[in-house]
Symmetry: C2
């Protein structure tokens, strides 16, 4: 009984988990978090209309979702003033990044990202045998010129850039990205992760021509629209590029209620506006809390704030551990020098007050 003969690639992969979920931490601690401020979830939640749509769809869940996500895709096309053929809907940006990497990357192909940027992208690159090359952040921002220069150097097929950035919350103008597109090397694709763009200042979304085959943009209902648990993302790109996803995607992979919820969320522009206001206020609150204890909150265009704890990664980790032990779920960047920070999701006053109180205790304890 030899059992499965895994591919060489599969044998070589570690059983990596990009992130440990808060539920696993709660099970390990034997208690629930009082404040869930670590996963960049949007605690203000989805539009009540989206909730109602999902609830209504629950009794129809015996039906598969439409494999074409027709209604959602057409609504998104109208929203972005592009054709439905420019959009593919998938199981969150995570799922779409997996498909994208699979389409482009085979063993040994070069990929470029920032050192310390989104780990799930790296997980997919490793999972398809890609050779990942990194460039450091410039200050606390991803460095697009350096990324594109590295891409040319290593003949990359794919380069990842998030705007706004996670985990730092930094951002640039979309027009500044467009101005750099001609620096994308021949045969390289820029994947522009705009997961947080609905929460960013006007002008952050990159006005990339939809017919430009060098760029694919990722969007999601997880952040601004508050539906992380629904798993609805989409990619915007040139029609031929988008069509390639049809070759490999899990056509019946979308949850039917999530499709309905996302459509309702998209149509409730007022709720998104209110969310933007709540998030902006929460960012200010987090900034004030940090300042109260002599820490520096970084400017953020997202629904989280990185707080510079002013010393090294070990110190920030000690603060994080102290917060977690006090029932406040937060996370932190993985890589120096960004790991001098902790990262706090925006949330209602009550949860931020719990964070405030826990932080005060932890800092007092650490001295």
């Amino acid at each position: 009984m030899t059992g499965p003969r895994f591919t060489k690639l599969a044998q070589s992969l570690p059983a990596t988990v990009p992130f440990v979920g808060p539920e696993a931490q709660e099970r390990n601690m034997g208690r629930a978090f009082d404040a869930r401020l670590g996963a960049n979830e949007n605690i203000f939640g989805p539009s009540p209309k989206a909730i109602a749509a999902m609830q209504s769809a629950a009794s129809d869940i015996w039906m598969y979702g439409d494999p074409e996500s027709h209604d959602l895709r057409h609504a998104l096309a109208d929203f972005h003033a592009v054709a439905p053929e420019n959009i593919v809907v998938g199981e969150g940006i995570d799922g779409l990044l997996g498909y994208l990497v699979r389409l482009l990357i085979e063993t040994g192909d070069s990929v470029v990202t920032s050192l310390g940027a989104y780990p799930t992208f790296n997980y997919h690159v490793a999972g398809f045998g890609g050779a990942l090359h990194t460039v450091p952040y410039h200050g606390d921002s991803e460095d697009l010129p350096a990324l594109l220069s590295k891409a040319a150097e290593v003949d990359a097929k794919l380069v990842y850039f998030a705007n706004p950035d996670n985990p730092m919350g930094s951002w640039c103008k979309g027009a500044d990205i467009v101005a750099q597109l001609d620096a994308i090397p021949e045969g390289c694709v820029l994947v522009l992760d705009e997961a947080y763009v609905e929460l960013a200042p006007e002008g952050t979304a990159a006005p990339v021509s939809i017919d430009d085959p060098r760029v694919i943009r990722m969007r999601t209902f997880s952040k601004g629209y508050g539906m992380a648990g629904a798993r609805v993302g989409y990619a915007l790109g040139q029609a031929d590029f988008i069509r390639a996803f049809e070759k490999i995607r899990n056509h019946f992979g979308m949850n039917r209620a999530a499709q309905a919820g996302a459509l309702a969320a998209l149509q409730d522009a007022n709720w998104l506006q209110e969310t933007r206001a709540k998030v902006a206020a929460a960012r200010d609150t987090i900034t004030d809390i940090a300042a109260k204890y002599g820490l520096t909150a970084l400017h953020s265009a997202t629904n989280f704030v990185a707080i510079d704890c002013g010393r090294d990664g070990a110190y920030a980790k000690a603060i994080l551990d102290g917060l977690v032990a006090r029932g406040v779920f937060v996370r932190m960047p993985f890589v120096a020098p960004q790991n001098r920070c902790i990262r706090i999701s925006c949330g209602p006053e009550h949860e931020l007050a719990l964070f405030d109180a826990a932080l005060e205790e932890v800092l007092a304890e650490l001295g």
Copy 2:
């Protein structure tokens, strides 16, 4: 602007859709189906407790689902009297089949299935470059001895067998499968798709030892539990084998409400029993309808019935087209000689009556 450099494999793939969804057919026809009896969906629906759990989870959808699906996985482990380490939860059997193929198959690796069996499995095999070998059905049943013999002949890494079978509804005793396991060639894995097993006679589920590394079993909440649109499946297998999925799966890919719904569905054994009774009654009704028009319904252990239309594939296709044109969504097997049949999902009396009336008209028209 050269745009994306797809892998050789991606370039070689057609933009295949395993199935066109009924919604696409409805859009093409410009009208909705009156009876949705084509996709093996369980029209009797999920447990009201599952619906309530999903509705309740809708307002929590701002949170990601637990990437470990801990509660569901542990409940499934209890249910099957295995360890949680023997179970991986995924985005339906379709998603899990994709992961399984990815773990085992690279370009040129041999895979065996029945000619005319589940197309989505073949889609994944093609998608990872596998070389698919087929054996014909034996009568209207998948032929496990022939599949295993072919697997030995072509040095297959993976062989697919569904029990009960889709599209024919045929089945064998689980014990008969176990008796053949020693015929699995060294280094080959049998993927046993038991999607419909909750609707089959007692003894259909194969009592495979959970520590047997030669077999992985696929289960779903889509069929017996009536939650196709939720996208919750799971695989049962040896712990080391199951652990390999951690290397590549989309850890945060599960819809949070679907996780809660599946757990509630699993716990409502009474509803499943009632569903079994409704499905059995509907099978009888479909059989009676077929007999009324001189057609032969095949015995089925699933929530669908294949009706032998008594002539060739063209005739069955003409009947299918006539039904579809009359607002009754049905499908049919793809391959001769099984394509002499049409395939009708079980459903409430009202929908079967619509099928009955449409069938009478179509047969009269075809003469």
